[in-house]
């Protein structure tokens, strides 16, 4: 959204924007209420979702957050809470490019550095999308889906 606006201000400099160049604004404004309601639900449930996801993962494998000689549960939880918040923000502003450039590409290297790929796959490929699906209405899911798909494609195996 921000990049599209930025692009429009440059590309339409010195002339009026054409109707098709304004479509993204129309689409966004039509979905604002849905985005805000989805954002508010995720804001209210983000921490709880992170706890539930970790609880499920630990139930399957109590040592799943042990890397090297340390338990990294707390760090992984913090990262997950951040990721959920950033996903909600990306959905709210329809701004996937910033989410990818500011967070996902960097976080992928951290995931790889700690051999955390299997857990990231379970978190961002399966458990988080399933929880979001339970939390949101079908219409809200529709605006959240691109963000979840982007996270999954970058962080999952």
């Amino acid at each position: 959204m921000f990049r599209q606006l930025n692009h429009l201000t440059v590309s339409a400099d010195g002339r009026y924007a054409r109707a098709e160049e304004l479509n993204f604004l129309r689409d966004y404004l039509a979905s604002v209420d849905t985005r805000i309601s989805a954002y508010e639900k995720i804001r209210a449930e983000g921490e709880l979702m992170a706890d539930k996801i970790q609880a499920k993962q630990k139930a399957e494998n109590p040592h799943c957050f042990h890397y090297g000689q340390r338990d990294h549960s707390e760090i992984c939880r913090r990262d997950l809470v951040d990721a959920i918040r950033l996903s909600a923000s990306a959905m709210l502003f329809a701004e996937l490019d910033l989410m990818r450039d500011n967070f996902l590409l960097w976080y992928r290297t951290i995931v790889k550095a700690f051999n955390y790929e299997t857990m990231a796959d379970s978190t961002y490929g399966k458990l988080l999308p399933a929880m979001i699906k339970q939390l949101l209405t079908p219409e809200e899911q529709r605006v959240m889906q691109p963000v979840l798909a982007l996270s999954s494609s970058i962080l999952s195996k």
Partner: protein
């Protein structure tokens, strides 16, 4: 962990979010000040944008000045830069992550080190540490700024990268290491491959390369533990 003095930075986003570690998008990492006509990075170091013509001018100008020694000069520039960067990086890492460098996972340290370079256009990388215990490692660079600029010239050209890796890893582990580029985008390959290791490995690789061995041949020989003394 000893107390680490954390300076206040002028970079506005850094000031506002000192604990933020995902700050590597171009607009976050660099602060463009049109009033001052300056660009500064996350740690307030001055940065400048250069064109491909600048890179070509630098490489070819140096060749004109010192001939074939330009490769060594570029390597030495990179090596000195890497050694100094290792010192600065250690300070930044310990400030940012509140952890001593030697207690952090090596893969994490390496990612933390290279991200600013990626942001500034030096290319993405991939590090292969599988032979670390045998005293060497491989680094692949995708989109080397030097090779991409010079195009297909049929020989390795990324001496400044090789020097940078040699200097940084020497500074990091406090043991003398060298580096050689085994394959280069400027040789028609799809990416550049570097070998970092103890000098005997680098010398062996350089010997095999001069004999016409490919990067894959050299990699195979090194992984099999063969050194130049076995050449017969």
């Amino acid at each position: 962990m000893p107390t680490v003095f954390a300076p206040t930075y002028q970079h506005q986003l850094h000031q506002a979010h000192p604990a933020r570690t995902n700050h590597y998008s171009l607009r976050d990492y660099l602060q463009f000040s049109s009033a001052q006509g300056s660009i500064r990075d996350w740690y307030d170091q001055r940065v400048m944008l250069v064109t491909e013509d600048f890179v070509i001018g630098l490489v070819q100008g140096l060749e004109e000045e010192v001939g074939s020694a330009s490769a060594l000069v570029m390597y030495k520039i990179g090596e000195e830069w890497g050694k100094r960067d290792a010192v600065v990086f250690r300070q930044h890492f310990e400030q940012d992550y509140k952890r001593e460098l030697r207690k952090a996972a090596l893969t994490f340290i390496l990612e933390a080190w290279w991200w600013p370079f990626t942001t500034q256009g030096w290319g993405n990388w991939d590090v292969d540490l599988t032979e670390q215990k045998n005293g060497f490692m491989f680094i692949n660079i995708f989109d080397s700024v030097v090779a991409r600029t010079l195009g297909d010239v049929g020989k390795p050209v990324c001496y400044i990268y090789a020097g940078l890796f040699a200097g940084f890893f020497t500074g990091l582990i406090q043991k003398p290491l060298g580096c050689i580029e085994l394959q280069c985008y400027a040789m028609g390959e799809t990416y550049c491959k570097f070998l970092v290791g103890k000098q005997d490995r680098i010398d062996a690789a350089a010997f095999w390369q001069n004999e016409g061995a490919t990067a894959r041949d050299i990699e195979k020989r090194l992984r099999q533990g063969e050194l130049v003394t076995n050449k017969g």
